[in-house]
């Protein structure tokens, strides 16, 4: 390689490179590196917030599941309670109905008894009245003729003798 005058290229390389470097540093590298850096930061931030959102979502899902599970358990409990309550109510009402029936029967019995008693009393009264009137009539009949009166007396006396 034929060496040429060194000062030309050395001088111009130095000048051009320094000017070129200063211009690029000011008008190109600074904004480019700044933009790249800020975008990287924003990407990192976006990733971090996406991760946070994912975690939050996970938490939410877990929460939802927990709530759902609780709700299901609550529903089961409520159903169970309702069933129990129903059975209880049925049993209670059965008992009550029975009691009530019993009571009614008792009352009916009592009423029947008292009615019967009253009827009996009235019947007795009626019978006694009827007997008296019959007896009266009989006596009237018997005592209206001497013969029969005497027979009666004899008969009665006869009974007395037996005693």
């Amino acid at each position: 390689m034929q060496l040429t005058s060194p000062e030309s290229l050395i001088f111009w390389t130095t000048i051009i490179f320094i000017v070129f470097f200063i211009l690029l540093a000011k008008f190109a590298w600074k904004p480019i590196l700044g933009a790249v850096k800020s975008r990287e930061e924003s990407i990192n931030n976006a990733l971090a917030s996406a991760e946070a959102a994912r975690l939050e979502m996970q938490n939410l899902t877990a929460d939802n599941e927990r709530i759902l599970r609780e709700a299901r358990a609550e529903r089961d409990a409520m159903l169970k309670e309702a069933r129990e309550m129903k059975e209880q109510i049925i049993a209670d009402s059965k008992n009550e109905a029975q009691e009530q029936g019993q009571k009614l029967i008792e009352q009916a019995k009592v009423a029947i008894q008292s009615e019967k008693n009253a009827a009996m009393a009235e019947l007795k009264l009626q019978v006694s009245t009827l007997s008296l009137s019959i007896a009266e009539k009989l006596l009237k009949d018997e005592l209206s003729n001497k013969e029969s009166q005497t027979k009666l007396v004899e008969k009665m006396l006869g009974d007395v003798k037996l005693n």
Binding site: L9, A25, W29, A35
Partner: protein, 429 residues
Amino acid sequence: MPVKNLNIKNYIYKFSIFNFKCTFAKNFWNLKLDTDLIMIISNKPVQYLLVTLLALTSSVNFASTPVDSVSVKHETVESVEASHAEASGHEENVGHKIEEEFNASDLINSHIGDSHDFHIADWDGHPVSFSLPVILWTKNGLEIFSSAKFHHDNTGEHIVDINGQKLVRYKEIIFYADKFETMTAEERDNGAFAFDARPLDFSITKNVFSMLMSAIILFFLFFAVARSYKKNPNAPKGLAGFLEPLVTFVRDEIAVPNIGTKKAGKYMPYLLTIFFFIWINNLIGLIPFFPFSSNLTGNIYFTFVMAFITFIVTTLSGNKSYWGHIFNTPGVPVWLAPIMIPVEIIGMLTKPFALMIRLFANITAGHIIILSLVSLIFIFKSIAVGPVAGAFVLFMSVLEMLVAALQAYVFTLLSALFIGQAVEEHDHH
């Protein structure tokens, strides 16, 4: 370090081709360059780029009479076998069949070196090039003129009079004509460092032009990306979507692992700048036509400046423990200091030196291999070699694209590593 060993093997392999010298009629080369020119002129975007980017002070110039008619184009076909007008040969009769030896070594040297003109193609036996401004600091002060004044001369024969000062150009180095006369051939060949025989040359050379272009392209590319972030705060798309992974790659794979999360941010602009600057210039060097094709990153002066800047950054970033390791290495007896301090200082310098050589050698070697493969066609004087050489050139070009990215990565990685060593906190002692 395994990476280093691999590279050294690479160099040995690649440089074996460097010495490959061969000769052949140069005229076949014209065929390829002619097609290049036709392609460029018919390609409007390239032409537009050419006009907008390069309309600084320069102009496309032809070696002799302007080529402006269809009949000249017709002659071009005939002149495929005509002699190649070397820089010296612009006054020769074009169209005469002069068998010149094809010298692959000269061809390769001229393609990987720097130059004052941007050679586009040869047209009708004349080199067509884009003349760049020559800026000289002479004994009489600053002189600025177009490189067209040298009329493609690179042999020291054409004397240019600039405000009374006689100048000649020999192998892309501009000398004072009177001093040049007295120099021996060897002194002329090593003229790059003969500062008393030549004016200081601050010309916008092909490499400077290419570097300026790459810086402008990169600046607008990343400025557009930076602006797109203001409009679009969401996920990047388009250009930003393509470049952002590269930026984050530099940050996450180069800066942070070597410098540490806390301090990486401070050095990110520098690392990003060198990464993309070296990468795009590596790629520009692989594009074989104007306004690309310069071998900037394969130029030792360029890699020297880049490595030197890394050295400055490393040195200025050095903390207490870094300097402590150099001037008072922990665990080493004080009486060893006269040995240790020079060793450590040499160690400081070898790191950027390795950076400089690595990039220079890798890129230059790649260019040499591709040019050697193309030269094979002219060496064997056979069209049959074309497809074979073409296949190899394709393979090498793809490989060089990988190397372009890899070397930019390695340069940035090692810069980050050196900076990381300088800012590392040693809390274990």
